[in-house]
């Protein structure tokens, strides 16, 4: 029994951290987030493909590395730490769906090679609770409107869940950009009246939802770990009343709570990933718990990070707000906290 990473896993962590530091230092990510209309950098995307990250969990038969969810969590935690913009998690989830469907090895190989970008179009309404019109697949065509489609403007194709099954459509797509507060994520509203091919039954999304929960949880973990580091560094150098503000017990206790939330998220996320990889009976509960907890924890950690930085924490200039905004996207998408609470209750049998 061992919670720490194996040698191979530790190597994956350190090499990912090195790669991201080299290929997308924060200044580069900031440029992408502020100025790139697609929301990610093509050269970096090719780098992610060449280094095997895009095919991390893609089966070996389709040109991927065939690694597990623990390895995916390691990579996503590092991407969270780096505040990496772009559709990495979204493409991994599309690949998860295609691998579960079977018979899609050619497309999977293209995804892993970075030749094509496919994401999943889930949301059927812009606001929670508003009744959407469910997308339908009939006579070889898919019809409906999808909201908050990840990186729709840049995608070559979309996986579209409908009540009749999940189908695949190709570009050109009619996309209206939905600009949100998070410049690290791009969304579009997509009106569909397209020829489509059926990929498989709606049940394929079950596995996707579990991986999405762990994956978003891992990115949230990386964000929290990074902001805690930044905040500790800040309170140790920032002076007020002739001492570093980190000497004040009122901040020390809140920093202790930030560590508690961050490390508890780490326990929950990696346990959930391990449960998925071993088909553990607790996997559904562990995944829902990890995502719901990570979302709540990130609110506290990101909020406290801004508060303890004071005025500078509210400026565009400081990097902090990009993390704060990524965290909000990750919290509300990939299975919102509200939906994960219901999933947790269902998994526990309540």
């Amino acid at each position: 029994m061992k919670f720490e990473l194996s040698d191979d896993q530790a190597l994956l962590r350190s090499s990912t951290r090195d790669f991201l530091a080299r290929a997308c230092p924060f200044e580069a990510s900031r440029r992408t987030m502020e100025h790139d209309s697609r929301g990610y950098d093509s050269a970096l995307w090719q780098g992610l493909a060449e280094m095997g990250y895009l095919g991390l969990t893609v089966p070996a038969r389709a040109g991927g590395q065939g690694l597990g969810t623990v390895e995916l969590a390691i990579v996503l935690e590092e991407m969270g730490r780096a505040c990496l913009p772009g559709p990495y998690l979204d493409v991994v989830l599309a690949a998860t769906l295609l691998a579960a469907a079977g018979g899609q090895d050619a497309l999977l190989a293209d995804l892993a090679a970075g030749k094509t970008v496919v994401t999943i179009a889930r949301e059927e309404a812009a606001f929670a609770g508003s009744p959407g019109v469910p997308a339908r697949f009939e006579g070889g065509r898919v019809r409906g409107t999808k909201y908050f489609v990840p990186f729709a403007a840049a995608a070559d194709g979309l996986l579209v869940p409908t009540r009749d099954g999940v189908c695949l459509v190709q570009k050109p797509l009619a996309v209206t950009a939905l600009a949100t507060l998070d410049p690290g994520q791009r969304f579009g509203e997509v009106r569909l009246d397209h020829a489509a091919t059926l990929v498989g039954p709606p049940g394929l999304l079950e596995r996707v939802d579990l991986v999405a929960a762990v994956g978003a949880g891992a990115m949230l973990l990386g964000i929290m770990a990074r902001l805690l580091e930044m905040t500790i560094a800040h309170v140790q150098t920032r002076q007020a009343f002739r001492r570093p503000i980190g000497a004040f017990q009122v901040l020390q206790h809140r920093l202790a709570d930030m560590l508690l939330k961050t490390e508890s998220t780490r326990s929950a996320v990696y346990r959930a990933a391990w449960c998925l990889d071993t088909s553990d009976a607790d996997a559904a509960l562990a995944c829902a718990a990890a995502k719901a907890y990570a979302g709540d924890a990130a609110r506290l950690v990101c909020g406290e990070a801004i508060q303890m930085h004071g005025g500078i924490g509210f400026t565009w200039e400081l990097d902090l707000h990009f993390y704060f905004k990524r965290a909000k996207t990750l919290e509300q998408h990939y299975g919102s906290t509200e939906s994960q609470l219901e999933r947790a209750l269902a998994a526990a049998g309540y």
Binding site: F3, E4, Q249, E263, A292
Partner: protein, 392 residues
């Protein structure tokens, strides 16, 4: 990363599960709601249960065999604690002896002390209580004033201890006493005192639950044989710190099993009462999630132990997590049950599943005893985050 128990640990766990199934007369919650149960009868039941565990070789799990232990590992001890919780076994009566004094004697005691005190501690024949806190020394424990003056081959003890859990039923107390008024930390010594020594008196204190599980202990010229000093004169603080490290230890797995059982009862109660609206579901869902994360913390702690990583100051995170969760859980349970949740066990209308009113009141204790939440946050800030010495 591998979160599966090893084959040997699985074997140990399964053997223990089978033993519990054959030997546990009935779950603790049923003992508690037996109308004939009294405070004294429950103590005797716990004593008998402890003896049974001891005779089967399940106590002193990680202590050397030559002193009455099993010679096992801390991993087996954690597994055992989790299994006892899962089976809803009665709590170990001599928890302060086994949990705190035992490690102190193993690390710092003399051979004669280990042989004299450990076997009856494990069997439940001698119950121990802990004499650390004083009216003027709680979180600031080193401010303690109870004095021990050497007089020939005895220490003469004067002073007062308070919040002494099990004081009213214990046979012995381990005491931190001041042997040098001028040396704040180095002037403290660790003494073992029999409670029927002339000059020692115990007064029960009534707690907010109405029970008297703790009390006050007074020392007036009580004479304690010199051989009941643990370690050397002036080593008391160091010994106490070893001991408190054990107290904060790795219990998340056992705790989440216990909370999981009460959560299942709460969920069933909500269903039965028709409390299925979204506000209720959200509250219940957060409790389930937080308890599951506690379990993940427990699995991580167990895996670290098995991996040869002894728990350090980060075990304060576990104490902080469960004790703060306990308060939220019990508050929320009353929210969900409504006024009926406040009924005392003696009321015929009270629910039979869990004594919700008592658990609610009890939850206020966990963030105070064994190092308050404030003390735990101080430890985390200084020893895990390495923040500067604070300005209070």
């Amino acid at each position: 990363m591998d979160l599966q128990l090893s084959a040997a640990h699985l074997h140990f766990r399964n053997e223990l599960r089978a033993w519990l199934a054959a030997n546990l007369p009935r779950p603790w919650r049923e003992e508690l709601r037996d109308p004939r149960a009294t405070e004294t009868s429950l103590i005797e039941l716990r004593r008998a249960w402890q003896k049974k565990l001891y005779q089967a070789g399940y106590l002193g799990m990680d202590w050397p065999e030559q002193w009455g232990g099993r010679g096992g590992t801390e991993v087996e001890k954690s597994i055992m604690e989790a299994e006892l919780a899962r089976a809803d076994a009665p709590p170990i009566l001599n928890i302060l002896g086994i949990g705190l004094l035992g490690p102190a004697l193993i690390h710092h005691g003399s051979e004669a002390q280990r042989r004299r005190f450990i076997p009856p501690m494990l069997s439940g024949d001698e119950i121990w209580c802990q004499g650390f806190s004083e009216p003027g020394a709680g979180s600031d424990l080193a401010a303690l004033k109870t004095a021990a003056r050497l007089d020939g081959d005895h220490f003469v003890l004067n002073g007062q201890k308070v919040w002494t859990t099990f004081g009213p039923w214990a046979d012995w107390i381990f005491v931190l006493a001041r042997t040098d008024a001028k040396d704040r930390y180095g002037g403290i010594s660790f003494l073992l005192v029999k409670l029927d020594t002339p000059g020692v008196s115990v007064r029960p204190l009534r707690q907010i639950t109405g029970e008297s599980e703790f009390g006050e202990v007074f020392f007036e010229d009580a004479r304690v044989p010199r051989e009941h000093l643990v370690g050397q004169t002036g080593e008391g603080w160091r010994i106490a710190m070893t001991v408190l490290g054990y107290e904060r230890g790795v219990g998340s797995l056992a705790n989440s099993a216990r909370y999981g059982r009460d959560l299942a009862q709460l969920a069933a109660a909500c269903k039965e009462l028709g409390r299925t609206g979204t506000a209720v579901r959200e509250k219940l869902g957060r409790l389930v999630v937080e308890n599951e994360v506690m379990r993940a913390n427990g699995i991580r702690a167990l895996a670290n132990l098995a991996d040869g990583r002894a728990p350090g100051p980060e075990s304060s995170l576990e104490k902080l997590y469960w004790s703060e969760f306990d308060k939220r859980f019990r508050e929320t349970a009353l929210d969900l049950l409504g006024p009926g949740g406040q009924l005392l066990r003696s009321s015929p209308a009270a629910r039979a599943d869990v004594d919700w009113a008592r658990e609610f009141l009890w939850s206020r204790a966990g963030t105070i005893y064994s190092g308050s939440s404030e003390v735990q946050r101080n430890i985390i800030a200084k020893r895990v985050l390495n923040l500067p010495q604070d300005a209070r």
